[in-house]
Amino acid sequence: MYKIIKKQILSSSIKLMEIEAPKVAAKAKAGQFIIVRANETGERIPLTIADSNKNTGIITIIFQEVGYSTLELGRMEVGQSVTDFVGPLGKPSEIENYGEIICVGGGIGIAPIYPIAKALKNAGNKVISIIGARTKELLFWDDQMRQISDELYIATDDGSYGQQGFVTDILKNFLEQRKQIAKVWAIGPVVMMRAASNITKAFHVPTIVSMNPIMVDGTGMCGACRVAVNQETKFACVDGPEFDGHLVDWDLAERRLNMFKEEEKVILDKKLWR
């Protein structure tokens, strides 16, 4: 059993939890994820390792309540334990000193971009971070991001915080002004990663995205997490989750995420609590 040590409500739908998992914490690297199962009847859901601490043995996860399983996890409290917590899974990010890099985190994508930006900063890069959300209420960890970034830019769709607009607008401006950007990491909803990749492609800047397909085992056993990259089928859990954003088949990624839409409605209707 893996105990919840801390719970923090970052916004109406976004929650942070610190979970005791010393073995996972000892091995976790930026870019990797875990799979959590809240209870005996629960789904296995993949979540990025937002932070980890070898000394305390704690893993931080941040998740957005989008369907039944994340809502159920979000209802758990400090002191309770999740039944299963497996990781670290996926390939770590390739951290090197590239020079000047941009980290774009959209919405819940701020959680996965943080450890990567931190690792890139520690590797000596100049880190320019762009984070954003629909509205101020949904934006979190701007302080943490500021600490590890050389420059931080913030966007909200409605202008309630930072600049008004999308993170991709800021990204585009940036690339127009500064040509020396070595690499871009863009993580967030598929639409955002797709837009970011389209922009960087025009400027020929290598771009890494983190795919978030539906998963089951997370070890390369089931093939549920198939994505197409450069027309080749890859399993995101073991070949990724990071891929070259310029080569990803985005239409396919979007379609596969909708596979269980109807079932999601069924479970939300049938298993309502309160």
Binding site: K23, T41, D217, M221, G223, T233, E263, K271
Partner: protein
Amino acid sequence: MPVQKATERVNNFGEVALGYDEKMAVEEANRCIQCKKPTCIKGCPVGVKIPEFIQLIKEKKVPEAVSKIKEKNSFPAICGRVCPQENQCEKYCVLAKKKAPVAIGRLERFAADYMLDNREESYEVPSDTGYKVAIVGAGPAGLTCAADLAKLGHKVTIFEALHVPGGVLMYGIPEFRLPKNIVKTEIENLKKLGVEIELNYVVGMLDTVDELLEQGYNAVFIGTGAGLPYFMNIPGENLNGVYSANEFLTRTNLMKAYDFPNNSTPIKVGEKVAVIGAGNVAMDAARTALRLGAKESYIVYRRSQEEIPARHEELEHAVEEGVQLKLLISPTEIHGDKNGWVKGMTCINYELGEPDASGRRKPIAIKGSEHYFSIDTVVMAIGQGPNPLVLKTTPGLELNKYGNIVANENGQTSKQGVFAGGDIVTGAATVILAMGAGRKAAKAIDEYLKTISNN
């Protein structure tokens, strides 16, 4: 053997074959003529003393019969259900020449079930030898190896990637063929021997094999199975509604999607399901599809009925339940609707040529025979390969051209102190062969431990 009626069982996940009662078992046991030179044993990969245990059933000494079986096979309740007996012991039974062979598998199952139902088995935990062995993977190979090593007094820890132990027995083979409670009971018995099982532990991502050795394990057994689904690499394979058999069966069996939404993992099955392939895995998927509500379920296979590799009993049960066979055809492309969901596939006809290396007649595509097959779910059950997570992180481990571990008949790999067995060595095979490999490796590991200094 009594079975659930086909029309009823397609609506539930309860076990299909109901098993003998004592009267039936004794009656069947009485058919065995107790050959002086029993041929049946030769057909058994682990050499169960078949006539001896059957004799004990005749005498209604069921606990003794089980002990006799367990001298060679640690998990008879499982093997009695899933072994391909018609190709093993029963094939070689002398009675098979004239009439039906003795139903050895069913007798094995009867005896094992009787014990599970009626008696707590007692376990003697032997004194500790001080040696520690790590087992990677809790499938039949790993579990058997663990059981044998524990009985010899070694300290055994099994590391399993999933949240339950059992391997394919839990995530692949459906409840209606192998009730999960049986596997669970067998594993509980194993724990009584002192074996520890660490779940949610992906070797290669957490510790590597080398790190386990550094941490003080004196030997490591790798039994990670054939857990990499193959696809055909045809257009349309990533459409919504195309599953690997592993995903389809894992969602259903391990995650209990058949009981959605009581269990939170969903599965979506259309009205017309095509399962590509005709092995046990394919039969399980096709029958599962019907139980999940599909109106039509097809086995699509590019050879003829004669070459079908699934167990006879499973094929028979599948057909009784309404699974339809589409033989001598294979898909070349899967088509989707505008939302990206499967709506049909193009198939091509095959004819059979001369026997190939496998001894089976080689399927040859007939040019110009393409035709459309309307379908809304596809399950790929064309085989599995070795999952590379452990292999890639274990330097010095020799692999063959298929990516399987090279090991000698005792399971010794190219790396000192590292043994392997089961599907990871042989490629996808059978439960009993995996168990046999686990057992041989345990013996070799025991011998190996005696050669190293005990610290």
